[in-house]
């Protein structure tokens, strides 16, 4: 497989995690512009664990995702009491705050005569675990897709579970859900924590592939894109956001001839879809139709 293709596929895989995390919050009816914050927190936390504390990759990644989930829950406790647009703005403000904190965050140790660790706006270099342990690009890509498959399975189980139904109830009508005895705020905080964990997995994978992260990567546009992926691909199934990522990263960003026009095409695509398919290509109706067809074929 050629390097470019491996790189593009790895990118699609990693960005899929943050798209899924924004999608999970859309299910409970919340729009977050700030999922890049949890992606960033985990990128730093897992990088610190492997490059500075000498942890292995998997515990480092788990640690990064756990820190991101914990941060998400802490943000959720005050912000989820406010609703709708105000929650969206609060997530945006939080994500910018996180980015600015990383702009000044310095924490370095000397390893083999070199200073390693986050260095404010100069970023965090030498997260070299993958290279030091001779993991090839293809192997790493397979690790990304293995994790993505596991997360997708979790999403499909969730969508069939009672918890998934409760999430959808809350997304459709939070007041009515309350009338059924559901503690809406508690479930939303749970959803936010789960979304933080998923975004965190992506962030940890990202830091180890690029070996270098800097605060400006995690700007608002990353969050806006991850939100748009679900809206493009569809809100009826967890495959929806992945389709959105594939269209944007796989097609618009990676094909050199059109990458210069990426934002124009992307913006146009979002506008056209919002008019003709406001809940995305694979919306609930499309998913039901496909499910019925499949059921008939089996019967």
């Amino acid at each position: 497989m050629d390097d470019h293709l491996v790189g593009v596929l790895s990118n699609i895989g990693m960005i899929s995690f943050i798209a899924l995390s924004a999608y999970l919050l859309l299910i409970v009816g919340e729009i977050s512009f700030g999922q890049q914050a949890f992606f960033a927190i985990s990128a730093y936390a897992s990088g610190i664990a492997t490059a500075m504390w000498g942890w292995d990759f998997w515990p480092g990644l788990a640690w990064g995702a756990a820190v991101a989930a914990a941060a998400a829950v802490l943000v959720g406790i005050p912000t989820l009491r406010i609703r709708g647009l105000y929650f969206s703005i609060a997530t945006l403000a939080f994500a910018e705050m996180v980015r600015l904190v990383f702009e000044v965050f310095k924490y370095q140790v000397e390893i083999d005569g070199e200073m390693v660790g986050p260095d404010g706006s100069d970023g965090f270099r030498d997260i070299r675990y993958i290279f030091e342990n001779d993991i090839t690009a293809v192997e790493y890509m397979l690790m990304i897709y293995g994790l993505l498959a596991a997360v997708l399975c979790a999403f499909f189980l969730l969508e069939r579970s009672r918890l998934g139904s409760i999430f959808r109830m809350i997304g459709q009508d939070p007041v009515l859900a309350q009338m059924q005895g559901i503690d809406v705020t508690a479930y939303k905080i749970l959803a936010l924590g789960m979304a933080g964990l998923v975004a965190g997995i992506g962030g940890g994978l990202y830091a180890h592939l690029t070996t270098f992260v800097e605060p400006k990567i995690f700007n608002v546009m990353l969050g806006v894109h991850s939100l748009a992926y679900g809206l493009i691909g569809g809100l009826g199934t967890a495959f929806g956001p992945l389709i959105g990522v594939a269209i944007d990263i796989g097609f618009l960003e990676s094909i050199r001839a059109i990458s210069g026009y990426r934002m124009i095409a992307f913006g146009g695509l979002v506008a056209v879809l919002l008019i003709f398919r406001p809940r995305g290509l694979l919306d609930e109706a499309a998913v039901n139709w496909i499910r019925l067809r499949l059921r008939r074929r089996h019967a």
């Binding site: 139904s165 959808r168 109830m169 459709q172 009508d173 009515l176 309350q178 009338m179 005895g181 503690d183």
Partner: protein, 240 residues
Amino acid sequence: MLEVRDLDVSYGRIRALRGVSLDVAEGEIVALIGANGAGKSSTMNAISGVVRAAAGEVRLDGRDLLGLPAHRIVGRGVVQVPEGRLIFAGLTVEENLRLAAAAAHDRRVEAEELERVLDLFPMLRHRLKDRGSNLSGGQAQMLALARGLIAAPKLLLLDEPSLGLAPVAAREVFGLIAKLRDSGVTILLVEQNVRQALAVADRGYVLEGGRIVLDGDAKELLGHDLLVKSYLGIRREEVA
């Protein structure tokens, strides 16, 4: 069973309720009557905790309800069936019912409760796998009622159960309310259809401008001057 004392509710500067007091005894059906904007739904919503009351007391079996979040009030046995046949359109009939049961019961009881409610609403049994969006208005109201009952509430708050229904479906709903009374469910009922509400209720309260202006036995209220003039829309002679 339910005691409401001096309940005040405001939306911004608008005062929706001014010192509403009412009682519902166990096994009773109490009707709350009034024009649009009189404060019927505000009373319901304040009892169920969906709306915060500015002042007053709400007690169920002597225990305070006011100030508890809505989901905990459901846990105390007060369940509201909101106005406008609000069901979860994207969920199936069975999911609508099971999720409402889940808050109140463990899984074993949940299956029994589902059976009990389906016996009351036989037409829902054939539609368990259908989505809420595929139900007709009358069916959706039946589902909303069934969902309210599945938690086996001590007190059921019914907000305009016949609103917007075809006459046949409305009659079915009132027939069901009568059936529920016979099985001992306590109900606070808000209705536009004053005559049918008072026919099924034991007692009634009349709300006007956020105050209770009249209360009494349902049969007596049906013949009361004020009610006859304002809500029943017929002349005195016809009643006599």
